[in-house]
Amino acid sequence: MIRFREVTKSFGAKKVLQGFTLDIPDGQTTVLLGYSGTGKSVALKHIVGLLEPDSGEVEVDGKVVADLSRDELAVMRASIGYVFQFAALFDSMSVFDNVALGLRQQGRSEDEVGHRVETSLDRVGLKDAMVRFPSELSGGMRKRVGIARAIALEPRYILYDEPTTGLDPVTAAVIDELMVRTKRDLGVTGVVVTHDMRSAFAVADRIAMLYEGRVHAVGTVDEIRHTEDPVVRQFIEGRP
């Protein structure tokens, strides 16, 4: 389980998270919704220790992330796949090597690396793109390679940062379907940061809405869909 406890985080004078508290239960996909700049991606980066809170705690499986040694952090990160907003693929590497890097880092044999890379790319429908480079891929394909890179490590958690941003509706639906299938087939716990309502309703078991640096509302898809909370309603309906 992932837990945020009264997390605060500022960048200079800008307060991003202000007492952010949320439990992310295992085996479900939790969507973090919210306006741009409300700290959704910042919250995600705290889970893998890319950022440290100014105060408060982030726990993964009962361990406080900020208290982990470098080696413990590496072990914890091996259990978490991270899909970046713009995929963050390594430009100088082929698709195969992008997906293989984390596995090689774990010291796995080349046979096992090859098998798992092929399986992961097959799962996202990109087995034929193994020898291509990121610059030769479309936005949707890059995101799918990012997902393949995450699932190749067979993680317990996958964190998706704006997985459908910048994609056309059909490609976005393909990514949504991929996220649902990944959870169903691999049993991973998902955390999805998005402001795309259609995507949120498609993939979520639970939705938490961030507003002014903290969780404003949390509930199942139906609860959020039918809430009367004016802030949530305004966001769902996209009213100015």
């Binding site: 980066k45 893998v48 220790g49 890319l50 470098r70 590496a74 072990v75 990160r77 091996a78 978490i80 796949g81 991270y82 970046f84 907003q85 713009f86 963050a88 693929l89 390594f90 430009d91 890097l101 984390g102 880092q105 774990q106 890179r149 490590l153």
Partner: protein, 253 residues
Amino acid sequence: MTDHLNLIGVAQLGFLRRTGRWAVDASRAIGMPRVWAPLVVTHMRRLGVDSIPIALFLAVFTGIVLALLASYIFTGAVPLYFVGALVAKTIMMELGPVLTGMALAGRVGANIAAELGTMKVTEQVDALETLAVDVHAYLVVPRVVAATLMFPVVTAMAIAVGVISGWITATSLLDLSTPEFFKGVRQFYQFKDIWFGLLKSASFGCAIAVMGALTGLRTQGGAEGVGRSTTRAVVLGCEAILVLDAFWALVLL
């Protein structure tokens, strides 16, 4: 006044903290040869071999200018075969390493800072971290090792080409024969001249790569941030060369 002192104190503490953290990161990364060793040869080619043309281009013209300058200074005062001594000694000990270092600070320092800076702003560095890859072992150490090993090689080539171009200039444009030129070279040559220049160039390579990598990894913002880091890496690299040049002169001469 107190406020100013406080600010200076805070800045110094920040610098010391960053330096301490970097030293810890670097020592840990060096102890991970499984990560960085396979990448060294690739970077030796990119940072070293690909830099040979610019280094040799500089060396050719340095040799020409030095020969003409020596002839201008010595005519009527010192025997002309001293041209050989001045050309060889100056290129081996000073101009070869320093000019090559300066040129490579632009090429190698900028290359490293721009590449790592772009990786930083496009979250590729974060992606490496989430894959539990040690960023310093994977990105910094192979570049620093490659530059430290390859700068002396490139500098040695530049020294050879510089002396040859000085010799050709002396024999074709000045009233100096080949035996006279090499008489001057031999008369003042010491083995130290060579290793002093190559040792300096190794330290320049190390410093330039470290500056490039650190400024690259501290890049913030988008393309503008990458541009700032690149410029900063080149300036810091050139400054490091001048400081190290003075340091080695004080210590070894």
